[in-house]
Symmetry: C2
Subunit: 337 residues, 2 copies
Amino acid sequence: MRIALDAMGGDHAPAPIVAGAIQAVQASADVTVVLVGDRARIEPLLVEGEFPRERLEIFHCSQAVGMEESPVDGLRRKPDNSISRCWQLLAEKKVDAVVGAGNTGAMVAGGLRLRKFLKNVRRPGIATIMPTAKGVCIVLDVGANVHPKPSHLFQYGVMGSVFAKHILQRDNPSIGLMNVGEEEGKGHELAQKTHELFNLSPLKSRFVGNIEGRDIHRGACDVVVTDGFVGNVILKVCEGVFEFIMKLVAKEVIGPLQVERELGQKSLRELIQRYDYSHFGGAPLLGIDGICIICHGSSGDRAIRNAINVAVQYARVRLNELIVQELDTLPTKADDE
Amino acid sequence: MRIALDAMGGDHAPAPIVAGAIQAVQASADVTVVLVGDRARIEPLLVEGEFPRERLEIFHCSQAVGMEESPVDGLRRKPDNSISRCWQLLAEKKVDAVVGAGNTGAMVAGGLRLRKFLKNVRRPGIATIMPTAKGVCIVLDVGANVHPKPSHLFQYGVMGSVFAKHILQRDNPSIGLMNVGEEEGKGHELAQKTHELFNLSPLKSRFVGNIEGRDIHRGACDVVVTDGFVGNVILKVCEGVFEFIMKLVAKEVIGPLQVERELGQKSLRELIQRYDYSHFGGAPLLGIDGICIICHGSSGDRAIRNAINVAVQYARVRLNELIVQELDTLPTKADDE
């Protein structure tokens, strides 16, 4: 399969991005990565080392949307930017997937602009994988759709379930709705109406109802459904708390050790590497006709390689076909559009 | 000053609640606590030990709203419940403050039902104190108002600033608006319009603009403004991540230590005690005509004593008068009501 990788996207692009691509083609013999970006900056990164150079192509483009740039402005003012070129390759079916660690808003906007959604999908959503006390769960939407309708959230539950089942290997994935309390009738209108949609649907048996913020990490369900505003805040709050606490632990728990400080530091580093929210795999944009994996801006080579791997798995299990099949079995009528 | 304490509210009430009250009257010679609840269960807790029994009164009532009960149902079906009695004492000016660790929804609903808001306040909000890398900040609203208007959020910024200045001792407290990105124009309509209100107001110089989830714990501002839905999710997500990570650290970082495991465990316990979100002081309900401090359901004696202490400080600095004064200097017109 062929993957377009935004070589210019990310806080430290292009070096770690290209390094991640090299690792990915080394790991999978049927993967070709198209590095989209400035040829003059990419080519020097491909001269040394042992790797299948023939499965690393370069698609040259002259511009890049900055990490802090307004997505809409950036895409408009820079027609030859690497993000738009990635999406163009996908639209022209020259690649099967798009992977990038650049400006998230621009990645999503670039994709939504194509308006190529899967059949019956009302609005794509970004799904992110989070660690919990019982393995991992998937939280969506984390930022594609900040004004969703109840039917959008319902579809996020459906798409998230398909992902949880076929990528995370969960039989009968359970679905929870993020809310401010567990009892029915809690929260704002969006939450109340979404709750009703799940309860009236064939997904009812897998719907655990409302969950609260603290339930995510307790592993209360496999799929956490929420709107793009709340989901984005959750994702970044987790990152912030993690960063904050790890520094505290390093200073106040490991610091006072005399004999075994080095061992403590090593274990802590390993834990940070394993759970660092900014590196916890890529986030798929579910619902578009194609595959798109969005990575954190600070992604290093390992994160890029992981994201490419998620794209490969995604294609292998034919996730989009499964999503379309699942949506076909459900009522498509929505009163809220 | 006199404080009504819901003796029946909390996961382990009344024992730790009464113990917290005893510590509070021991600490402040001018504080009287009115223990509101079942006399038969409270009295036995007041027989032993050295403390000024005359500053611990009992106001008997026969019912209590359960922690998991629907707030509206609970208040309606149980007219003689301890939460309503606390609010009644406040309304009759028999106490200066209400403190409780019971059903949060019922605490808020009980207060809002009185409709005694401070002059010009459109809607009260719950403010919670959170630890950051630069001290503490205040986040509001965390659950009183899940359908706010931009003018409500603006007022949360005003009230939160007054709290930050006079209780947290911050000169010129900075205000940030929780959003999904830093640039202007980000987020949903509520966030966009609130951003505009701050920018057009005399608070502009202290308004740092949009902040993202990860900025809270980095200490990006003194006052974080958000709606009650998002704020509640933030609060509980922090709790969940903290709990999750502390268990991981105990197992994976402290567990492997051989020689200094006990020292590591001790430091970790101290860190948990200091930062445990469920015990991080009480959360004031700002905007009502009176003082109300809401505690976490799992509050122990220390948390209750801290909450009473916050109520005392609140009264001493005449926080409500300062809030009214501050609101008086600002435009009261709101187009969104």
